[in-house]
Amino acid sequence: MQVVVNGERREVPDGLTVLELLRALSVPGRVAVERNGVVLRQAEHAVVRLGDGDVLEVVTFVGGGA
């Protein structure tokens, strides 16, 4: 199946969880994930399974100011 991660289309195995996707992408450290416009709780990463066509945003903290 296909999902879109941070604007890029990717082929992933059926039934992949969010956490498995993050590991497959070698995502370092802590991130937050939004799936189809809904922000996931950290605890949900291990249990939520991706569906075909899901749109994901993976975000982190960067330097920023006032």
Binding site: E8, T60, F61, G63, G64, G65, A66
Partner: protein, 257 residues
């Protein structure tokens, strides 16, 4: 004497909030945070770069035992975008504190206060501790306080402009109009701006560029710390009234004939 800044029940001994952007490098940023004595720094939320490998993490350079993170919604232009960013930040940061910033104009980076108030109402309902960037309009500040914001953060001048305190009178009126802490956010250019803000009775100052882009950032961070201490002390000490004419400070009696 304990003269802490208290926001939403949390005590801060420094009245300076710093940013984490525009520094020459992360080690310099860390040294600036230390030199300023800050206990809270803003961070932005952005898409993770999935191609980047082994990049130094920002959080590695922030001593979170001493410095709290304040995620911001920088460069959001609608209440909806800002609320979305805050929800992501809460999952990222393990904290419900946010700096709410909803902009309305790309050239001045002035806030869209209507969208800011709307976003603040939503976020407070969702349990966030909201510190909103706003204009120096006391009516808007009151609306933000009524919405349940933990502080209000009026600008002194446009973000990153370094123009200093453009309208001290408006800031003073705003300070008198609300009960929550008032943190001057944006526009600081140099140390005296920090002193003036605190002398006016404002409770804190949030700044980034004035330190990060100074020729010697660490030295400027130290200057900001001293300026904050001086400004706060002067406010507590109580300035003399302004007079139109001279008033001698030596006695007239005993003058030599």
């Amino acid at each position: 004497m304990d003269d802490a800044l208290v926001i939403a029940g949390k005590r801060f001994h420094s009245r300076l909030l710093l940013g984490t952007g525009k520094y020459p490098d992360l080690p310099t940023m860390k040294r600036c945070h230390e030199a300023s004595g800050t206990e809270m720094v803003t961070v932005a939320v952005r898409r993770l770069d999935l191609q980047a490998r082994g990049e130094a993490s920002l959080l590695h350079w922030i001593d979170q035992g001493r410095i709290a993170l304040l995620p911001n919604t920088a460069l959001c232009y609608t209440a909806e975008d800002a609320v979305r960013t805050c929800r992501l930040a809460r999952e990222l940061g393990m904290s419900n504190w946010v700096k709410l910033e909803v902009l309305g104009d790309e050239r001045t980076l002035f806030p869209d206060v209507e969208q800011t108030v709307a976003a603040a109402r939503t976020l407070v309902k969702e349990g966030f501790v909201v510190l909103p960037y706003t204009s120096d309009d006391l009516i808007v500040a009151r609306k933000l306080e009524d919405a349940g914001c933990a502080a209000v953060m009026p600008l002194a001048a446009p973000i990153g402009s370094g123009l200093g305190i453009r309208n001290p009178h408006a800031l003073q009126l705003l300070r008198e109009a609300v009960e929550v802490p008032v943190i001057v956010d944006a526009g600081v250019g140099t140390a005296s701006d920090v002193s003036v803000a605190l002398e006016l009775g404002c409770d804190g100052v949030l700044l980034n560029t004035a330190v990060a882009a100074a020729r010697e950032p660490v030295r400027m961070a130290r200057a900001m710390k001293l300026a904050a201490e001086a400004g706060r002390e002067a406010f507590l000490a109580g300035r003399i009234p302004r007079r139109a004419h001279g008033s001698a400070s030596s006695p007239l009696e005993g003058l030599l004939p």
